[in-house]
């Protein structure tokens, strides 16, 4: 019977995903059809336009709450449109635009930071050949695929859709990590490491999903939540399932002890890709965590609360302490991103009380970190980035503008008032205290104090040390990277001084739809 299988689709709700996904395919076609000299502007324009259109589509959906798909009028929760989902989609879209601009930077490195083929043996003749060529533009469609996956990840209403999204966001990233033009071997190592560990994480995810299906008889998050109180199946299935799903998600979020890949991959990947991972993937990973734990596992909070608390504490303290010992700016930022994952986990643990504040934190942190990596990509020793901290000594003398910007970003990461770092921490910790998580907040504060030391050491290096005679130069950024830095710093300051508007938005957008 035709009406018994009538599927209705809310195309407007699906529009952000469709737009970015379609643009990715158009981008692939452009690779094949547009002459090489014109590919870069075409790809960048396409990517930015698609992401901007997706953002507009998200905004147009603003008041919507429901599922995209329905069968015979009965909602199917595979893709869910609700406040948090929309806010996170919008955040990912905006941050991706910024990241794409950074990917498009061509003035600081002639021809860009990327090669076309990741798998060519490093330093072989073919590799040297491709390094001489202008940078690959395949990175833009790949990025759009990853962004589609991220935007789907935060709106998935069941574990199966979420798995598809997880793979979709991960696979292009594995590849992107291996495309660095300099230090090919390290880049390839990063890609392989990320891929192998990511594949492990995915396997954990699938196994955990099977366990939860066995427990609840459904992969639907709301159904799993209902089963958390009513299922007659052995509770061991639930424990194992939650544990394994959590391992996969915490791996993406870079929480201790699943963080091992982070410093190596952040260092090895081309810096623009690192920025994409640190900002957008972080948003997606925590969007997923928030949804799974709020929608799917809130009824079994007693079962996972302790272990997640332990992980959050380990992440905050571990990230901060390891950050203290770092001598490489990218590794320092990697460990700082681990510690920040710990703070964000507080928001996950606090469940419904802190959803809005966690999202605010994600947006604020994303802008700051993307600008920080943009600055890292500008400070160069000849062809290569000067990532060793000692090389940054005295930058304030030679390039005061860059040093001022980086100082603001470091102070924001340290959580000083009048920066977004403070407002984000304040609102997150306040929400956590409201949820009676005093212990976690105190650990968070102690960790912030420890973490302030490495940031401060960077500031000391920038301003108080004498530059070496062969100190690295700060390349004048093209309008692309210039926009990235400006946008990141502007957001950092605006969200620090006048965060009211965004606080209102996350406040309104903080309720998950429990289908």
């Amino acid at each position: 019977m035709s009406e018994s299988t009538a599927v209705t689709i809310d195309w407007a709700g699906l529009a952000p995903l469709v737009i970015v996904f379609a643009a990715a395919f158009v981008g692939l076609l452009a690779e094949a059809t547009v002459p090489k000299s014109r590919r870069l502007p075409v790809q960048v324009a396409l990517a930015v336009a698609a992401l901007a259109a997706a953002f507009v589509a998200v905004v147009l959906n603003a008041d919507k709450s429901g599922t995209v798909f329905a069968l015979d009028g009965v909602a199917i929760g595979s893709v869910v449109i609700d406040g948090p989902g929309l806010f996170l989609q919008g955040t990912i879209a905006i941050l991706s635009i910024v990241a794409v601009l950074l990917l498009a930077e061509r003035r600081t490195v002639r021809g860009g930071d990327f090669v076309a083929e990741a798998a060519v043996v490093a330093d072989s003749a073919a590799d040297l050949e491709q390094r001489r060529e202008d940078g690959a533009t395949e990175i833009f469609p790949l990025t759009l695929f990853a962004v589609t996956g991220m935007m789907m990840f935060v709106t998935s209403g069941d574990l199966l859709t979420m798995f598809v999204a997880l793979e979709m966001l991960s696979l292009p990233l594995y590849l992107l990590c291996g495309l660095a033009k300099r230090r090919r071997l390290i880049s390839q190592e990063a890609a392989l490491k990320y891929f192998l560990l990511g594949a492990f994480a995915s396997a954990f995810y699938v196994y955990g999903m099977a366990m939860l299906y066995g427990f609840a008889g459904t992969v639907d998050l709301a159904g799993i939540n209902a089963a958390g109180v009513g299922s007659g199946q052995p509770r061991m299935f639930l424990y194992i399932g939650v544990a394994m799903i959590a391992v996969a998600l915490l791996f993406k979020a870079a929480a201790v002890p699943f963080h091992m890949w982070t410093p190596d991959v952040y260092t090895g990947a081309p810096t623009p890709v690192t920025a994409l991972m640190a900002a957008c993937v972080k948003v997606a990973a925590f969007g997923g965590l928030l949804r799974v734990f709020n929608v799917g596992l809130s009824s079994s909070a007693w079962d996972w609360h302790l272990i997640l608390t332990v992980i959050a504490v380990a992440t905050m303290i571990g990230g901060a302490i390891f950050a203290v010992t770092q001598r490489n700016i990218k590794r320092l930022l990697a460990y700082s991103s681990i510690a920040n994952a710990g703070y964000l986990l507080i928001g996950v643990i606090a469940l419904g009380d802190a959803v809005g504040q966690t999202m605010f934190y994600l947006a604020a942190y994303g802008f700051t970190v993307i600008a920080a990596f943009a600055v890292v990509s500008l400070v160069r020793d000849g062809d290569e980035e000067a990532t060793h901290l000692a090389r940054w000594a005295g930058l304030g003398k030679k390039s005061p503008g860059t040093a001022v910007v980086f100082t603001i970003l470091m102070l924001a990461l340290a959580g000083l008032p009048f920066t977004s770092g403070f407002t984000a921490k304040f609102s997150l910790f306040a929400a956590a205290l409201q949820a009676d998580e005093l212990g976690l907040v105190i650990v968070g504060v102690v960790s912030s104090a420890i973490l302030a030391f490495p940031y401060l050491r960077v500031v000391v290096l920038l301003w108080l040390n004498e530059p070496a005679p062969d100190a690295p130069t700060v390349n004048l950024p093209s309008p692309m990277a210039g926009t990235v830095v400006a946008a990141g710093v502007a957001a950092t300051l605006i969200l620090g001084v006048a965060p009211g508007f965004l606080l209102d938005i996350v406040d309104q957008a903080s309720t998950f739809l429990n289908t």
């Binding site: 000083l416 304040f426 009211g500």
Partner: protein, 512 residues
């Protein structure tokens, strides 16, 4: 609401000044100096207007000149300002000491090859943040500036300081203060969560305080530790000798003369009214710490070989007196403590500035590099002795009144403590006079004759900038009544929260 937003102007003028001065080109050092001094002078003028319009009567509202503008409504964070007698004194101290410190540092930077506009911009930014902490009448607003102030001071010490340990000192200062501030942040948030989302100070003070018990005790500790680090009280003091020793002398004068007062000011403004029961619970401990601080820091000061570190240690001893005065909870001792905060700013500010003159001439802060210096620098030596004597509270100088009031008030409450603390006076005489004797008197150090600058007595600029301080120290030494009139109502309001007799409730705080 008064007709002119004077308090907003007090914060805005130096802030705008900082931006203006920072945008001046590095080559135009003279322009930067004069512009900065102009802004600092404008702040002093506005302060004078506030002081003239201030109602010194006993029935005046607690906070005057109140202003309030909504900022982030989700957090009850308003730009709300208000001033009481205690804050008025400290604002006046800040507004007076800042231009003097600028004049003191006028030429210091010529030697170190650092950007002059940046230095003066940082000083103005520091002044704005310090004034804002005295004027804020919103707990979170206070916290914002309490933390933000670290940044300019950090650069002033780390970038413009002297000695091999300046970076170490700057980082130590920053991390110490940040740790205290972050612990306070937890308490600030917890206070907010537990009182239904209120940060407005007047509302908090007028409403029922938190129930006495564990929560109030922890919140008190969260606030108190931050303020005790800032003040600094023994045993939270270890950052100060490093910071004071490394900072340029003019900055050290601001650091010890004004910034450290924010700690003791905030104890009076926040700890006592918001957590009265916990304040009483912990008072014996704080008094114990204060007395240990007085004696311990004095002994350590005697043993110092570096002039700036020595002065820093004397300050820690003086902060012990202030803590004793506040936590003895008598009207005399608390009035004395507030007066002490003001007078200490004058005396130690002067002492640091004179030490700055000396070290700039000699190129060293080591006591052993001096000896018999008074022969060629009679006037400088005289001012040095005067500052030292003021710092040891010689009768006739302003600090004598405050120290006397503190000890007198404390004596009526707790004799043994007052007696032990009084030993600090004797020790103070020892470290001040011995310091003077080793540097200025005795056999002349032959090395001094090789330094031409050591033969140049005070210049006109130097005379002009120490004169107001000398006059103030002498003037308020003989006639402290105006100061006491200003602070007594505010002190009585504050102490009303910890009064043994519940009938002595404080008067209304709002201006409506």
């Amino acid at each position: 609401m008064n007709e002119l937003p004077l308090l907003s102007a007090l914060v805005a003028v130096p802030l705008i000044g900082a931006v203006v001065v920072a945008s001046i080109k590095r080559e135009n050092a003279a322009v930067a100096r004069w512009t900065a001094l102009g802004f600092a002078g404008a702040v002093a003028v506005i302060t004078a207007l506030v002081a003239l319009g201030f109602d010194y009567g006993d029935d005046a509202p607690w906070l005057q000149f109140t202003e309030s503008y909504t900022w982030i409504s989700a957090w009850d964070l308003d730009l709300s300002w208000g001033i009481d007698g205690i804050a008025l004194l400290l604002v006046a101290l800040t507004a007076g000491l800042t231009p003097i410190a600028m004049l003191a540092a006028w030429r210091d930077l010529d030697a170190v090859q650092r950007s002059v506009p940046a230095f003066f911009a940082l000083v103005l930014a520091l002044e704005a943040a310090m004034l804002a902490t005295f004027l804020a009448s919103n707990v979170l607003l206070f916290y914002f500036f309490f933390e933000a102030m670290l940044v300019p001071m950090y650069f002033l010490i780390g970038s413009y300081g002297t000695g091999p340990k300046k970076q170490y000192a700057a980082v130590k200062f920053f991390l110490y203060s940040l740790l205290g501030g972050l612990l306070m942040l937890v308490a600030v948030i917890a206070l907010w969560v537990n009182n239904g989302g209120v940060f407005d100070w007047a509302t908090l003070v007028e409403s029922e305080p938190l129930e006495a018990g564990t929560l109030q005790n922890w919140l008190f500790l969260g606030f108190f530790v931050a303020f005790a680090i800032k003040a600094p009280f023994f045993p939270f003091h270890t950052w100060l000798p490093d910071a004071g020793g490394a900072a340029p002398a003019a900055v050290a004068a601001l650091l010890v003369g004004v910034m450290d007062k924010i700690g003791t000011f905030a104890i009076l403004r926040y700890c006592i009214p918001l957590f009265p029961d916990a304040t009483k619970t912990f008072a014996p401990w704080v008094i114990g710490m204060s007395v240990i601080g007085v004696i311990y820091a004095a002994f350590v000061a005697i043993g110092q070989t570096d002039l700036k570190r020595l002065v820093a240690y004397t300050s820690i001893a003086h902060f012990g007196f202030i803590g004793l005065g506040i936590f003895a909870f008598t009207s005399e001792s608390a009035t004395g403590a507030v007066l002490y905060m003001f007078n200490h700013g004058l005396a130690t500010g002067l002492l640091f500035i004179v030490v700055g003159f000396l070290t700039l001439r000699r190129g060293s802060a080591q006591i052993k590099d001096y000896g018999g210096a008074a022969k060629t620098l009679p006037l400088l030596a005289g001012i040095f002795l005067f500052a030292g004597l003021a710092s040891l509270s010689l009768p006739g100088t302003a600090p004598f009144i405050s120290e006397f009031l503190v000890l007198f008030g404390a004596f009526t409450e707790n004799e043994p403590v007052a007696v032990v603390a009084a030993l600090g006076i004797i020790l103070a005489a020892a470290y001040v006079l011995w310091m003077y004797q080793r540097t200025m008197q005795g056999d002349r150090n032959p090395a001094l004759d090789e330094v031409p600058a050591m033969k140049r007595d005070l210049t006109l600029r130097e005379k002009a900038l120490v004169a107001p301080l000398v006059i103030a120290i002498l003037g308020f030494g003989f006639y402290p009544q105006p100061l006491i009139d200003a602070i007594e109502p505010a002190v009585d309001n504050t102490l009303g929260f910890v009064a043994d007799d519940p009938a002595e409730l404080p008067m209304g705080v709002s201006n409506e």
